[in-house]
């Protein structure tokens, strides 16, 4: 028997670590002008968020080390932002990447929006770690009617 509670709890930490990694890079750039880790963090964030919303990049490798590889992880993201909201964040991150590539100063609003989102995501993951709950995802009841 697998200890499902423990298993589920540790999965939330995967999300929290992912959020913290992106957050650290965003804060270092926005507050200290340190862009050293920004590019890989932005690329990672875009890749993971795209995969979690059902549009993985072509070269995306599935696996348990991904940020959103289980229901618990995907649900945590969904609790923070519905697909439209996540897509908005992906666009903000892509704009930041573009500005960085072009050597242009980044739009502070994009930074704030992204930082706020990842703070929220990490807080939610930590909360779910502390108090895991079980909910039925959207669409399952509709599936009953369709079947």
């Amino acid at each position: 028997m697998m200890l499902s509670g423990t298993e589920a709890r540790i999965r939330y930490l995967t999300v929290a670590f992912f959020a913290q990694r992106v957050l650290d890079a965003l804060v270092a750039s926005a507050e200290h002008g340190d862009d050293a880790g920004l590019k890989p963090a932005l690329e990672l964030a875009v890749q993971e968020l795209q995969a979690a919303t059902g549009n993985p990049p072509a070269d995306y490798q599935q696996g348990s080390s991904r940020a959103f590889s289980s229901y618990e992880e995907v649900r945590t993201l969904d609790e923070v932002g519905k697909p439209d909201e996540v897509r908005r964040i992906i666009r903000a991150l892509e704009r930041l990447t573009k500005d960085l590539d072009a050597g242009m100063p980044a739009d502070r609003r994009q930074f704030d929006q992204a930082i706020e989102f990842f703070c929220h995501l990490e807080s939610r993951a930590l909360r779910n770690f502390d108090q895991p709950t079980e909910t039925l995802p959207r669409g399952i009841h509709e599936l009953c009617k369709a079947s």
Partner: protein
């Protein structure tokens, strides 16, 4: 901002005390008890991680951020490290409780030896935990080891999580037993399943099964709903994989021990035996798969004489019609439960194939059991430890898997015959029957220990 800095200091100090306590606890236990090497590896990891965490906490305060976002990120980082320690807290005490006087060391050594015979696991070790729950568990630490890289962004010198350790929990009341602890093989199966990334390998088949049963509505679902459905099929497949993995390594003793435990947990009566849960397929399905394996490998026939009540129960459970399986979880509306089961049943061959890929060449030796089983039973009937058998005038040290199976079958079928040979025998004496059963376990355990010494690895039987 001053208030935020004070809060940061408080958070860091509180976590520091927590970590120091855990570190000291491990050091004290290590000094006062004897542990198998795998537990010591874990304690060393804790010790090193604690040292690195304390240094990190001091750095956090020394280099406190001044901006609002910076402080927020720093406090979240602290909160995250705290959760890692909260999670480890749940492991430390059960590992510390499982010192060598409380765990079945010969069985663990045998299990570890068998695990190491599987190619990618030649370096692995089994860590046992004593749990307050009356059940066997595997603590999946894989995600934690995957977090190593990320953890090192904050704790640059943090030790790597020992990925080679399989954490399995035994109910504290069963630590001294041999037969029920055969269920540990299933738990190690979870470790093997995760390490081989078997879920990822099954995923295309899972998606295909769901798509074929649910049709177009599956494709139009949002990702959380898809993951929810996949999660069920993967969990049920993993459980089945672990059952077959255990049988491959230890033979029918696993099924017989499962009957013992599930009976104790009242899982074998209808409707419970037909019910799927979020984590498990129905017991009826599980035993149907086990019976298939045992029949296909010849174990069923070899172990069926004398036939025990457990054999009959396995056959009854396995014969339940699949149409009667149910998944009545509160969270799963009935039609979806039925559809999930239909999709899951399509994965049967794929799961069998995965087990074959993992331990195809290692299937527990039914031949050794056939060869040594009758003599082991004879020795036990004479209250003799069956580690050196005399057959045809020659000495043999039997295969430990044959010892486990023959002893368990003896315990189930022939205990009364042994008791009749003991002075003062009272047919209905429950305590005496239990004591003698315990004695058989001790003899079998001793035989396994002796054979580990007498048989060089790889030459057993």
């Amino acid at each position: 901002m001053q208030g935020e800095l004070a809060g940061l200091l408080n958070d860091a100090a509180s976590l520091s005390r927590f970590v120091r306590y855990l570190r000291r606890f491990c050091q004290e236990r290590k000094a006062s008890h004897r542990y198998i090497p795998s537990s010591q590896v874990f304690f060393t990891y804790i010790d090193n991680l604690a040292g690195e965490t304390e240094a990190f906490l001091q750095r956090v305060v020394d280099q406190a951020e001044t901006s609002a976002w910076g402080l927020k990120a720093q406090r979240l980082r602290l909160a995250l490290v705290k959760r890692v320690w909260t999670w480890l807290h749940g492991l430390i005490k059960p590992v510390a409780d499982a010192h060598t006087l409380r765990v079945p060391c010969p069985l663990l050594i045998l299990l570890q030896r068998q695990l190491r015979a599987i190619g990618p696991f030649s370096y692995c070790q089994v860590v046992t935990l004593l749990s307050p729950d009356l059940n066997y568990f595997q603590y999946r630490t894989g995600p934690l080891s995957e977090l190593d890289t990320q953890l090192r962004l904050f704790l640059p010198n943090a030790p790597a999580f020992p990925r080679e350790l399989a954490f399995v929990a035994i109910p504290y009341s069963q630590g001294h037993c041999l037969f029920t602890n055969v269920l540990l093989y299933h738990e190690v199966g979870h470790f093997v399943f995760a390490t081989l990334e078997s879920a990822g390998r099954l995923l295309p088949d899972v998606n295909q099964a769901l798509a074929s049963v649910l049709g177009a509505p599956f494709e139009s679902l949002e990702e959380p709903a898809k993951e929810w459905l996949r999660g069920h099929l993967l969990a049920w497949s993993e459980e089945t994989y672990c059952d077959l993995f255990a049988l491959s390594l230890v033979g029918p003793a696993y099924s017989l021990a499962s009957i013992e435990l599930f009976n104790l947990l009242a899982l074998l009566e209808e409707p419970d035996s037909l019910r799927f849960t979020k984590e498990h397929p129905a017991e009826a399905y599980r035993f149907a798969e086990q019976l298939w394996y045992l029949q296909a490998t010849g174990w069923w026939k070899a172990s069926g004489e004398p036939r025990t009540e457990h054999h009959a129960r396995i056959e009854v459970l396995a014969s339940k019609p699949e149409a009667n399986y149910k998944y009545p979880e509160v969270n799963a509306p009935a039609p979806v439960g039925d559809l999930l089961i239909q999709a899951f049943l399509r994965l049967r061959q794929r799961v069998r194939g995965l087990v074959e890929e993992t331990c195809g060449g290692l299937s527990s030796r039914v031949d050794a059991f056939t060869k040594y089983g009758p003599t082991i039973r004879k020795y036990l009937l004479n209250a003799t430890v069956p580690s050196t058998l005399t057959i045809g005038g020659e000495s043999h040290h039997p295969d430990p898997v044959a010892i486990v199976n023959a002893s368990l079958l003896f315990s189930l079928a022939s205990l009364t015959a042994l008791r009749q040979r003991i002075k003062g025998y009272q047919p209905g004496d429950v305590a005496d029957h239990g004591d003698v059963a315990g004695r058989v376990e001790v003899w079998a355990m001793k035989a396994i220990e002796d054979c580990a010494l007498l048989n060089r690895p790889g030459e057993a039987g």
